[in-house]
C-alpha cells in the first residue's frame, strides 16, 4: 500500500510538471537565475579574496646590510631570520642584483640612469627581503627583527611599514566584513525569490488542492506531489546551472589570468575542487526552501 501510494505520488508529480509545462519552465527558470546569482556571488568573493591575497603578498620587510659584508655572514643572518615564527620566506638580494633591479625599475628615467653612470660605482647595498606568513603577524615580525643584534645590519627603520600594514589590514578586514554582509543579504534575497516562486506555483493549484481534499484525499496525498515537484525543479535547476556556469567560467578565466599575472588564480579549478560542496549545498539549501514553501502553501490552500 505504501509502495503503491509512493508510486502514485511520483506519477502525479511528473504528470503535474508535464501538464503544467509553462509553469514548470518558469519556475525552473527562476531557480536557475537565483542559482546563477549565488554562483556569481561566489566568483566575486573568490576574485576579491585573490585580490586581497595579492596585496598582502606584496607586503614585505627589508633589512639593509653593510655594503662590503661577507657572504657567509649574510647567509648566517638569513638563516637566523628564516627561523623566526612569523617568517614565511627570506630572499637575499646582493649588491649586483639590487643594481639590476634598480636599472630595470628606472629604465624609462634617463636622468636617474645618467646619474648612476656618473657615480661610477654601485651605491646600493645588499639586503634581506623578508616575507611574513601573514600581514596580521607583521608587527610581531618587526619586533623580532628589532631585537636581532648583528653588526652587519646597516638600517632597520620599520615605522612606515607598521603604519602602512595597519592600514592594509584595516581595509582588507573591512572589505571582508562588508563582503560577508552583502553576501548574506544577497543570499537571503535570493532564497526569498525562490520561496515565492514555489508559493506562486502552488497558488495556481489552489483550486485543485481544494478539489482533492473534497474528494477525500489525505493531506500527505495532496502535499507530497507538490513537494516532489519542487525537488525535481531543484534538481533540474542545479543540473542546468552546472551545464551553463562552467562555460561561463571558461570564458572568464583568461581575463582573470590577464589581470592577476603572476598569481595562480584558476576559478574553474576552484569550482572543480569544491564541486560537491558548492552544488551540494546549493541543492540542499534550495530543496529546503522548496519543502518549506510547499508545506506552508499547501496547508494554506488545503483548509477545506
Amino acid at each position: 500500500m505504501f509502495l503503491l501510494s509512493t508510486l502514485r505520488i511520483i506519477k502525479f508529480s511528473l504528470q503535474d510538471i508535464i501538464r503544467n509545462i509553462w509553469l514548470s519552465i518558469v519556475t525552473i527558470t527562476i531557480l536557475i537565475l537565483a542559482l546563477f546569482s549565488i554562483n556569481m556571488l561566489l566568483v566575486v568573493r573568490v576574485i576579491s579574496q585573490t585580490a586581497i591575497d595579492a596585496i598582502k603578498d606584496k607586503v614585505d620587510v627589508s633589512l639593509y646590510l653593510k655594503p662590503e659584508t661577507e657572504e657567509d655572514k649574510i647567509m648566517a643572518l638569513k638563516a637566523k631570520v628564516s627561523n623566526l615564527n612569523e617568517v614565511k620566506e627570506v630572499t637575499y638580494i646582493s649588491k649586483a642584483e639590487a643594481l639590476e633591479f634598480f636599472r630595470e625599475k628606472n629604465k624609462n628615467n634617463p636622468e636617474i640612469l645618467q646619474a648612476l653612470r656618473e657615480l661610477g660605482k654601485n651605491p646600493l647595498t645588499p639586503s634581506l627581503v623578508i616575507k611574513p606568513k601573514n600581514t596580521e603577524s607583521v608587527n610581531e615580525l618587526i619586533n623580532s627583527l628589532n631585537n636581532i643584534e648583528d653588526e652587519i645590519i646597516e638600517s632597520r627603520n620599520f615605522t612606515d611599514h607598521k603604519l602602512m600594514l595597519n592600514k592594509i589590514n584595516s581595509i582588507t578586514n573591512k572589505v571582508n566584513e562588508v563582503g560577508m554582509l552583502v553576501s548574506l543579504i544577497f543570499i537571503f534575497t535570493t532564497l526569498l525569490v525562490v520561496y515565492n516562486a514555489i508559493r506562486v506555483a502552488i497558488y495556481t493549484h489552489r483550486k485543485e488542492i481544494n478539489i482533492m481534499k473534497l474528494v477525500g484525499a489525505s493531506n500527505p496525498f495532496v502535499y507530497m506531489p507538490f513537494l516532489l515537484s519542487g525537488l525535481i525543479y531543484t534538481f533540474v535547476g542545479i543540473m542546468v546551472i552546472v551545464v551553463v556556469f562552467y562555460p561561463f567560467l571558461g570564458l572568464l578565466q583568461p581575463y582573470l589570468e590577464a589581470f592577476f599575472i603572476g598569481y595562480n588564480v584558476n576559478i574553474v579549478s576552484y569550482f572543480n575542487a569544491n564541486f560537491i560542496k558548492i552544488f551540494g549545498l546549493e541543492f540542499i539549501g534550495v530543496a529546503l526552501i522548496n519543502i518549506l514553501a510547499s508545506f506552508i502553501a499547501v496547508r494554506k490552500y488545503a483548509k477545506v
Binding site: 500500500m1 503503491l4 501510494s5 502514485r8 504528470q15 503535474d16 501538464r19 503544467n20 483550486k207 485543485e208 481544494n210 478539489i211 482533492m212 481534499k213 473534497l214 474528494v215 477525500g216 484525499a217 489525505s218 493531506n219 496525498f221 477545506v304
Partner: protein
Amino acid sequence: MIKLLNITKIYNPDVRALDQVSLHIKPGEFISIVGQSGTGKTTMVKVLIGEEKIDQGKILVGGWDITNIGQREVPYLRRQIGVIFQDFKLLPKKNLAENVAFALQVCGQTPKKIHSIVPHVMKIVGLEDKQLRYPHEVSGGEQQRAAIARALVHRPKILLADEPTGNLDSINANEVIDLLLRINKFGTTVVLVTHNREIVNKLKRRVVTLDDGRIVNDQAVGKYML
C-alpha cells in the same frame, strides 16, 4: 442513515446559518432540501462532509458520530459520502477517466481494480466514449455526469448533490436529475440540495424546506413552497 439532532451553526458575529435543525434521512431515501439563497442549504452540506463544525447538536452519518470529527478523519468521511457540486469541481489537468479514478486512488485501490471499475461507471453515466477528454473539452452536462461518476465510483451509501443543476440548461439539468433517480433506485440515499422549484415539484419525493436556518416544512411527497 443521516441524523441531524438539534444542530446549530453560527458564523461570526451572530449569523445563525443553521438554527436547531433536526432531520432524519432514512437509507435509500431521495430527499430534496430546498430554500432560497442564504437559508442554510450549503451550510448543511458543509457540516455533513466535515468542512464546517457545528456549534451545538449532534450529527450521525451511517451510525458514525461526526460531531467532533478530527481533521485526520475527515478524508475517510468524504470517501464514504459521494458529493457533487454546482461548479462540478473536476481536476482540470486530468481527463474525465483520471478524475473518476482519482476518487479510487485516494482510497488506495489497486490499478487493476481501477481499470475495471472506471470504464463501468463511465458507461453508467453515459460517458464511455469521452473518457480521455479533459473537462474543458466537454459540455457542462457531461462534466456534471463525470462528477457524478467520481462520486459514485467508491459505491457510497450517500450521495450529496449541492445545486448540481445550477450551471446547466434545462435539458442537461433533467438528464442529471434522471441519473440521480436511477442511482437512488439502486439503493443509494440521495440528498439533493437545490433552489430549483421545477425540478423539486416534478420529483414528487420528500421535500424539506429551510428558511432562515430553520426547517419550516417537511413533506413526504412535497412541493417547493415558501
